[in-house]
Amino acid sequence: MLVGGCDIGSTTGKAVVLNEKSIVSQYIVSSTTRPEETARQAMDAALELAGIASIDDLAYVVGTGYGRTKVPFANENISEITCHGRGAHWLDPEVRTVVDIGGQDCKVVSIDSRGKTVEFVMNDRCAAGTGRFFEAMARVLDCGLEGISSLENQGPNPCTITNQCSVFAESEVVTLINEGTELPDLIAGINLSVANRLFSMVKRVGLVEKLALTGGCSKNQGLAKALEKKLGVEVTTLPEDPQVAGALGAALIAKERAAA
């Protein structure tokens, strides 16, 4: 039996195809202005990779993410909060705290031993601590997202960025550049400022190990390092691309529904 999960986020669309035991294929595309189109592109690519002829071969599909109600071939939609919890739990059953950092929001999800969401917090309507923030900073520093992520670029004396607002934080960084702050200290400071924000969100739901990062920004190694330092716990490395954790969770729920 084959099932699918499709996570339509603000920046990327993700599709995962599952069989009884494992991931058959997964694919990430950039979001278009039409969620239906993004969903089709991601799923078509995942199906092609798996050598599956048609979406009709999937017994059940769950949509998730901001565009979850617009996934044309989904049987049901589930919030991305529930899906990230489920996906992370499947990738590592010992995970109890999931920090999902996407393109335009971040959330901390506390899950139980079965991967069920116990509690969650989400950032409020602001790009601080999300992919948008990192994109803006990468543009100002002209270093690319890889530049912000790379562990080699994390300076020893992170500068302090206090503004919670991305736009104002950008001005703050521009000032620091003009004052001659070294690029690595700026990069470390940017990651630290997001880690600080995530720290308070984690504290709000209560930190229980293991902690895993999911979503596109989980690939930011500098951020992971800053968060580890701030929280004093290790960030668990997941065995699959953590960016697809939401789509994976959706597919896992689809499998449950198909079996019911």
Binding site: S79, E80, T82, K116, T117, V118, M122
Partner: protein, 380 residues
Amino acid sequence: MDSKLTSTAYEECVAATASIVNPAVEQWCEGGGRVVGYFCSHVPTEVISAAGLMPFRMRGTGSDGTELSDAFFSSINCSFPRHTFNLALQGGYDFLDGLVCISSCDHVRRVYDNWKRNLQTPFLTIMSLPRKVEDAQVGWYHEEISILREALGKHFDVDISDEKLWDAIKLHNRTRRLQREIYQLRKGRTPVSGAETLAIMVAATAMPRSRYNTLLEEILVELRQREPRNGYRARLMVVGGELDDPSWIETIEEQGGLVVADSICFGSREMWADIDESLEDPVEAMAKYYIQDHPSCPRMYGDQPRRREYLMNMVREFDVDGVIGERLMFCDQWCVEHYMNKADFKEEGIPFLQLDREYISSGKGQLRTRIQAFLETMGK
């Protein structure tokens, strides 16, 4: 699919809630009636009614921006006074013959200062609301209500006798009793949605009171014959402050969370208690009600244990599955309160979700995600 309330009485309430100068206000003004605006549930509206004036609770409903009022507020002032004052600067409150401001919170109380400098409403005053709920503060508020009574009487040239005050108290208590009857129907198999209830509740503050009481009676007849709501995933309670927008509740209910109870300014806190009609002095009765008997709001010092008890009773009485704590961004009254609520509900094993919002609803997608996830978390 649940049916919609169709009575003209309900439609009249919806119309009153959906705009500022609603048909009931227009009719009242055309007949020579005068209107006095007020902020906050702690203003003794009975005094305004006793003077033969119509009390109108200030809102920013329908506001499409804050560009005029932004010049008078800082970036950490909440969006409620911003939108409301913006409407006033656009002339939206020119129909007022008077305005009673109050030191309910620092954001709202500064509306008074800005109003005084920029608008020409004939009667303008501000009440000083105590922060504590002990007997000494009842004395203080007795004095404040007496000052209001005298000033209103003098400006509008009416003698606000004790008899008139008692009549107004009885009229407003009747509203409270009828509203409580609606809430009673929400226990168990509730025939009314939370969005409908809020529309009905807000209307009380935007039309002549005797007219409103008649509408409530008609609505109660309709509700008693109505099929209970079905097809919902969970029974929710909303706790918070200045929420007057039924569409916000509607978004929650569209996700499957039926709002069956509340503790909000325009909701149960308006009417869970009556003004004591057995006392000698009507001003004393009002002072006691507004300081001590009125369900407590977080602006009152040292009263959180009583608020907690109020919420826990409400959860039990209305068989609530989960609680949503709402707060206007930058609201200082509700910021700490919801963290305490969260801990208290956790202790009782009741799921709690805190939501910050803007006065004029925006970001419905984010609201939907949170509500859906909250219901999923509850296993609903």
